[in-house]
Symmetry: C2
Subunit: 366 residues, 2 copies
């Protein structure tokens, strides 16, 4: 095999070949790998070469040696720009000596899976998925996102359809904590951002009570992807100085009892309602009765960022009648003056040009 | 060179060697590249091999052939799971025939750079940075993030320090549009999420007026990274059913005139104030006068997600006095009952354990 493209972090080398099929394709792959592998990794690779004899000379077990190199790798990938020193090598080896007699310590990482499209995950989320032993994931997490995980990681669905009809939050907490106590790295993969309507409070508290280290990797929340898909800003200097997210349902599936209606009727806010499919009619009626302009532009979107994304444009008064025809899937409603004219723009001639332009390079809009 | 690890998308092959220095390190690199290269790419690589003779047989110019393979690559990387067909190959070649006589069409992509840490960028943002001809970036975009861009891309700072003392929004719009009209792919790289206090409205409108195709790639907004760093949910079923983002200053640098104070004093909301360094004292005084509980927990954070991140915990009454000592850098203030006890948890013994645990594998908390 002839390798036409090389990523050089010597002694770390990555070589790419397309067997002559498409050199341009190979170069593009090279460019992506270049970005994935920061230049600082060269120092780490050189350090690995220098340290290898030192590690071998220590009388470590095979498992401890392996763990040294795993920690080394983790450190290199997490802080490639921070050059390793000889002192650090010594400290890491000493740590390994200590750790090799201690049981492995489990931990939990809450990871935001974003709205569905795999390319909306952050690099940090992808790394967490690749470092996981076990992944506890929700119904709404897409197959495409799960595919990014380490192949050896065990995947457990803990959504509503997962453990029978009633996978309660307390059951998820118990499972998560018990797996971490067994020394596993548990990734709790949650749709959107775990910290926005993700019930992270309960899960973080459960970890802390059990003295399990817990960290959070944020995710793109659906409102952000909806704005990007519509190509409309969620805030605007003139018309939307405040952006708010409100949950469309309480624990019992009904509209939350304590909505601050004054904040909803404010004309200078963009309001995003999460998961309001069953409660939108009631929300709309109360909001209008409280003083919200019934002609406020409102958009319902289902399956945001996924190939089957659909949307309906209306006023807040008419939207409840319009959503009946929408397909199953997670729903979001955006409303406010910032959404004004969105429909015109999207369905006007400019959008057609954009569609034409992108139809060649993307399957999404075509 | 011996290659110890292979990513196989035959005829596309990627081989990794550490020259024997650290096989475990090489395997980890392999795993990352595996994730970067979806399995569907194998079909594209096979198609490239099959189509190459067809492309060569067409009497295309060198530039048109190159453009065919660039489009092919773009399509493959954007929709790897969507298998190419022979029909598509024909269509793409025909398109190339047409395009080779047309001038290149420019476009604009507004990309969210997130709060600073490079690993908080989405894969989609990284791809956009790698496809850019020109990058117009703000002051607050970190060096680390800019480093992810294609090396050949021209970088232009359009922040306050960029074009003299007054790089106005209209100047940025004009520059962006004129570059796109020259056929360039312009990436407008904005701190955080372009659609949240990013003045995207003006830039999208400028593109549409000039009939330049424009798309948006969302980014993690600072509030999300702040929550992740604090390890605290921004919403909570019991105490925070609504999450709102408010800008801390208007165009003139003063507190916005039309803040809906009713929405601020609501006890069931988490409020995040963006960039309130100069206006926090006034905000706090008015909010308390309007009825906000003066003991509401409030946290100021500077340089969220960056190595020099700092934070101060207080009540909303005391916070303005406490921020004077904070270093320069973008500031965020989070307030509400969901922030209750954050300080205790972070500074208590559990956090110490977490710090100890992570000090080995991460430089950030150590």
């Amino acid at each position: 095999v002839q390798f036409g493209a090389i990523v050089n972090r010597s002694p770390l080398l990555v070589a790419i070949s397309t067997d002559g099929a498409a050199p341009v394709f190979g170069q593009a792959i090279r460019a992506r790998i270049e970005t994935l592998l920061p230049h600082g990794l060269q120092c780490w690779a050189q350090a690995a070469k220098a340290w290898r004899p030192l590690v071998q000379a220590r009388n470590l077990s095979f498992a401890a040696r392996r763990r040294f190199w795993e920690k080394f790798t983790q450190k290199a990938l997490q802080s490639p720009e921070k050059m390793p020193t000889g002192h650090e090598c010594e400290a890491m080896i000493a740590e390994m000596d200590k750790l090799s007699s201690a049981p492995p310590q489990g931990r939990v990482t809450l990871v935001g899976a974003g709205p569905g499209a795999a390319d909306l995950l952050t690099m940090k989320a992808i790394r967490a998925l690749q470092a996981a032993d076990i992944i506890l994931y929700d119904d709404l997490v897409s197959f495409e996102v799960l595919e990014l995980a380490r192949r050896e990681a065990k995947r457990i669905l803990v959504g509503k359809t997962g453990h029978g009809p009633s996978c309660k939050q307390t059951d998820i907490n118990t499972l998560m904590v018990s797996l971490a106590k067994q020394g596993r790295h548990v990734v709790r993969l949650k749709s959107g951002d775990p910290l926005i309507f993700g019930r992270a409070t309960e899960e973080i508290a459960a970890c802390r009570t059990a003295r399990i280290p817990v960290t959070v990797v944020p995710g793109i929340t659906t409102a952000q992807a909806a704005g990007a898909s519509l190509c409309v800003s969620l805030t605007a200097r003139k018309t939307a100085r405040r952006l708010q997210f409100i949950t469309g349902h309480a624990d019992d599936g009904k509209l939350p009892q304590h909505i601050d209606w004054a904040s909803v009727i404010d004309r200078t806010a963009t309001t995003v309602l999460y998961m309001p499919r069953r409660t939108l009619a009631q929300f709309s009626a109360i909001a209008i009765a409280q003083g919200l302009d019934h002609s406020t532009p409102a958009i319902a979107m289902v399956n945001v960022s996924r190939p089957d994304e659909v949307r309906v444009f209306a006023t807040i008064r008419d939207l409840p009648d319009r959503i009946a025809a929408l397909p199953q899937g997670p729903m979001l409603v955006l409303m406010g003056q910032a959404m004004h004219n969105t429909e015109d723009v999207l369905e006007g001639e400019i959008m057609n040009e954009i569609k034409e332009f992108y139809s060649f390079s993307s399957s999404k809009l075509s």
